[in-house]
Structures are given as structure tokens and as C-alpha cells.
Subunit: 123 residues, 2 copies
């Protein structure tokens, strides 16, 4: 959860999980998250999953070339095939260009204490 500059790319991945193979999925998801973070142009990600198995992961990239390079990464591609075979009922993926960003936090909370209470336009 942080701000990203205007013109960076958000890849919005929404997936409905199957009810199988949870441990292997969690292991693969952790590997993917760490591997993504090592890629050139990676800016960060936000991820959440409801108990009913609906998950959203948004990864942020410096530009579209970086997002496409991650899409085409051989390890990512192999894990995606596994996901289609076992872990996902369905998913959607939206690739979008950030136009503006805001952040808000209660004051005085750890590292976020510097953010003011009003929304802060970034880009």
C-alpha cells in the first residue's frame, strides 16, 4: 500500500480459487510474489483474499514493458499454467495506466506517520 507515480502500470488480477491444493498454491504464490519483486521495473503489489476464495492482487510496474516482461517470464508462465490446471476456477486481468493516486493514514502510526490526514494527490 503505497503511492505510485502517474503513468505507471497497474495489473489487476482477480481470481476465484478452486477448493483444492491450498498448500501448493500458497507456496507458489509466495514464490511468485518474491520473484516479481526482483524484476526490473517492479514498484510493488497489494494483495487480499476473502475466505470464499476470491482474491485480488494488484502489481505495479514502472511501464508497460516491465509488466509485459513479467507476463512473459518463463517461471511465471509455467506457474500460470499450473494455476489454470489446478488452482483457479476463473480469473480476469486488467492492465491499466495510473492517472492519479492518493494515500491517507491516521497520524502517528509507525512509518505512515508522515502522511497527512488529507488525501494527497501524487501524479
Amino acid at each position: 500500500m503505497k503511492l505510485h507515480p502517474a503513468d505507471s502500470i497497474a495489473v489487476i488480477f482477480c481470481a476465484q480459487r478452486t477448493d483444492m491444493d491450498h498448500e501448493a498454491y500458497a507456496a507458489a504464490a509466495a514464490v511468485m510474489s518474491n520473484l516479481a519483486a526482483e524484476q526490473t521495473g517492479y514498484l510493488g503489489q497489494d494483495s487480499s483474499r476473502s475466505e470464499d476464495g476470491l482474491g485480488i492482487t494488484v502489481s505495479y510496474w514502472k511501464d508497460d514493458a516491465a509488466a509485459k516482461a513479467w507476463r512473459d517470464h518463463p517461471v511465471h508462465s509455467a506457474i500460470r499454467e499450473q494455476g489454470r490446471g489446478k488452482w483457479y476456477e476463473s480469473y480476469t486481468l486488467h492492465v491499466a495506466r495510473i492517472e492519479r493516486s492518493y494515500a491517507w493514514a491516521k497520524s502517528g502510526i509507525g512509518e505512515k506517520s508522515g502522511i497527512e490526514e488529507n488525501s494527497m494527490p501524487y501524479g
Copy 2:
């Protein structure tokens, strides 16, 4: 979870909840979701929340004017103030323009059975 056309707007709201007032929050969230769906230019939303309180809601809008009209809706504005006071530790919001979308589903699953197994570029 559905495809949206190129040039539509995704509003990515990532929020860390406080550990208080869960019932009132859930009621307000339901009201907001239903009210958003009645707005001109609303295309849909995806939402998930992890047990640790991190939630992501992505709402999709026909254009930026529709997204801004929802931002400025008086009921939405009032609920946002309540959220800052009680329900959220912090949040980020990214407004992004969709460049391309894909959907994938296992074949034969209810209404999604018409979607082919390969990713389908939309916009």
C-alpha cells in the same frame, strides 16, 4: 469479475481496517456497493478482504467523469468521513485507465461457460 472495455476507468482502493465496529462497517460497505451500482457510468466492481483486515475494492467506470461523480457523491463523501474516523487505519487509491483486459475460466462453469480457455484480449 468481468471484462471491461479499453479506456474505462479502474479505481483501485486498498484499505487496512481497524479492529473495531465490524457490523456498522459491513452495513455501510453494503450500502456503498449498492449505491455505486446505481450511478451513471458504473460498470462493476471486484472486492476481497483478507482475515488480517486488508481489503481491495476495484470499481470500474465508463469514464473519468463517472468516477469523479461517484467520488463527489454526497452520501459517498459522508461515509468516507466515517471510514476515516472509525474503520480505516490507512488506505491508498489509484485511478487508472484500462488499456487491455483478459478473462479465463474453466469451461462449462455456469454463465462463464462461453469464455474460452485461452486469454481473450478485449480492448
